[in-house]
């Protein structure tokens, strides 16, 4: 029964202390480990500021100093999000962090990175200013050239807005959640040369 297999593959492989442990292996001492949680922290900031911008509507930030500030926090959160994520990604590469059945952790992490690029891009499309106009007119050529533009039209602001606000946060949030669950389930990868199947 597939329902049983789903349960066996998820909760039954988890020990309660794996989710929020109070101890970590002794080798978890580098500052590089902070990049992962800092990425999540930036995502939280993006979610909160994005929620405020959503509730106030797309024109608000053009006409309100408070709105402009929230837009600025949203923008700088994006910049920080990518800085932390790239540091995290490079760190995991040099750790060869896919070792020990952690391939899917790596894969979900990279897919998060790619989904973040698409999310950031759609955010730039819906600013409602010259930047968004220019980006949309240039990006359309890339999408059209690959046949994608027939289905995702960067000049259709409504489509980009719904994808950025309603769809991608769900996708990205889900991917980040899946990635974090895999990290917790498999634990932090041990140092290279600690032995075993590398």
């Amino acid at each position: 029964m597939w329902t049983v297999r789903v349960r066996e593959a998820t909760v039954e492989k988890f020990e309660p202390t794996d989710i929020l442990p109070d101890h970590q292996p002794a080798y978890v001492t580098s500052w590089i480990y902070v990049a992962g949680v800092a990425t999540i922290a930036a995502f939280v900031s993006l979610f909160i500021t994005g929620l405020v911008l959503t509730l106030e509507g797309p024109a608000w930030w053009h006409n309100s100093s408070v709105g402009h500030y929230f837009n600025s926090v949203h923008l700088w959160s994006v910049e920080l999000f990518f800085v932390f994520m790239v540091v995290h990604l490079w760190g995991k590469f040099w750790m060869a962090a896919w070792r020990g059945k952690r391939m899917m952790t790596w894969i979900t992490g990279v897919v998060c990175f790619l989904a973040s690029i698409i999310t950031g891009f759609t955010g730039y499309l819906i600013q409602g200013n010259f930047d968004s106009q220019w980006i949309a007119t240039q990006a359309k050529d890339g999408f059209n050239a690959m046949g994608i533009g027939a289905y995702f039209n960067p000049l259709n602001t409504g489509q980009a807005m719904l994808i950025h606000v309603a769809l991608l946060p769900l996708v990205l949030g889900g991917l980040i959640g899946w990635h974090v669950i895999l990290v917790r389930r498999h634990g932090v990868v041990p140092p290279i040369e600690a032995g075993g199947a590398e």
Partner: protein, 314 residues
């Protein structure tokens, strides 16, 4: 050396020495610090908000460019008119070797530049002379329409600052009246409204006005060039002003700066295709033989886990 530090299967749960680690505390501290950092950067550096361009701003700032572009939309010689899919069948568009991905996707956003950008907006003007000109255009044959608009476009090209030209040889048909009227519509803002509401009275899709503006010969591209946004200015990742923009698109932007992509007619397909291949390679990097061994050959991990290795030596 401690037995726990000697050999460990990385697929097994760690059974060696541990240290206290409060994940919730770490997350809360990270959220507070990142929040303060983002809030501080926003307070100091703000964010760009250069007002959007409109058909009205174009017609007021560079009316001669507007007139020439509008005439090219009628003549079928503008960028959009000759674009191909997804707007029309005027060309195959870009190809990726034998793959005509653009053409195969089909015309899903049909645009007839003469009809959608010029003729249809003019029909809402309550002006008998304009409607006579529109009727004359509509009853003309395709050959006549092309001849009128092309002749007028050629004449405008020889007088690049002209907003209208007299029809001394009686060869422009109704085109001068139509283009002059369209310029008037653009200047008073009516053309922006006409194009954005042509499909629905509550628009969220700006494809038509933006394609029209993007066909501009000088106004739109010069405005972007002055803000270092062109493709050859690394514009894919830039923003107006000095803000960092989408710096994570640096590799995407880089390929547009180098040959053979830089001068290729199919640069978009090649760059998009290449980035697609590299993205898939990054996803499946742990399976790529040589690449997956790099972290073992270049021991950056010795710095990351220096405390552990030092302890192992002790």
């Amino acid at each position: 050396m401690s037995p726990a530090l000697s050999k460990h299967d990385p697929s097994k749960k760690w059974s060696g020495p541990t240290r206290p680690y409060d994940l919730i505390k770490e997350a809360v501290i990270a959220i507070v610090i990142v929040g303060i950092l983002a809030g501080g950067l926003a307070a100091v550096f703000s964010s760009p908000d250069e007002p959007a361009l409109t058909l009205k701003s174009w017609a007021l700032t560079d009316p001669a460019d507007f007139v020439q572009t509008a005439t090219s939309e009628l003549a079928g010689t503008s960028g959009t008119a000759g674009y191909g899919a997804p707007y029309n069948t005027a060309s195959d568009g870009q190809v990726l070797g034998p793959l005509k991905l653009q053409k195969w996707a089909g015309v899903r956003i049909p645009i007839n530049t003469a009809k959608d950008f010029v003729v249809k907006p003019l029909t809402i003007l309550p002006d008998a002379a304009v409607q006579t000109a529109v009727n004359a255009w509509n009853v003309g044959s395709a050959d006549e329409q092309t001849k009128w608009a092309t002749s007028y476009g050629d004449a405008l090209a020889k007088s690049p600052k002209a907003l209208s030209l007299p029809d001394t040889n009686n060869s422009y048909g109704p085109v001068p009246t139509m283009i002059t009227s369209l310029l008037g519509m653009a200047i008073n803002g009516a053309l922006d409204g006409a194009l954005t509401t042509s499909d629905t009275p509550l628009p969220t899709d700006f494809t038509k006005p933006m394609l029209f503006i993007a066909d501009s010969g000088t106004y739109f591209p010069d405005y972007a060039a002055a803000r270092h946004l062109h493709g050859d200015q690394w514009g894919v990742m830039n923003e107006t002003g000095s803000w960092p923009g989408q710096s994570w698109l640096w590799l995407f932007s880089f390929f547009y700066q180098v040959e053979p992509f830089k001068s290729s007619e199919n640069a978009d397909t090649w760059v998009m295709g290449l980035l697609g291949v590299l993205s898939v390679a990054l996803i499946f990097l742990p399976f790529i033989p040589f690449i997956r061994r790099i972290p073992y050959k270049i021991p950056v991990h010795r710095i990351i886990w220096r405390n552990w290795y030092r302890r192992k030596q002790d």
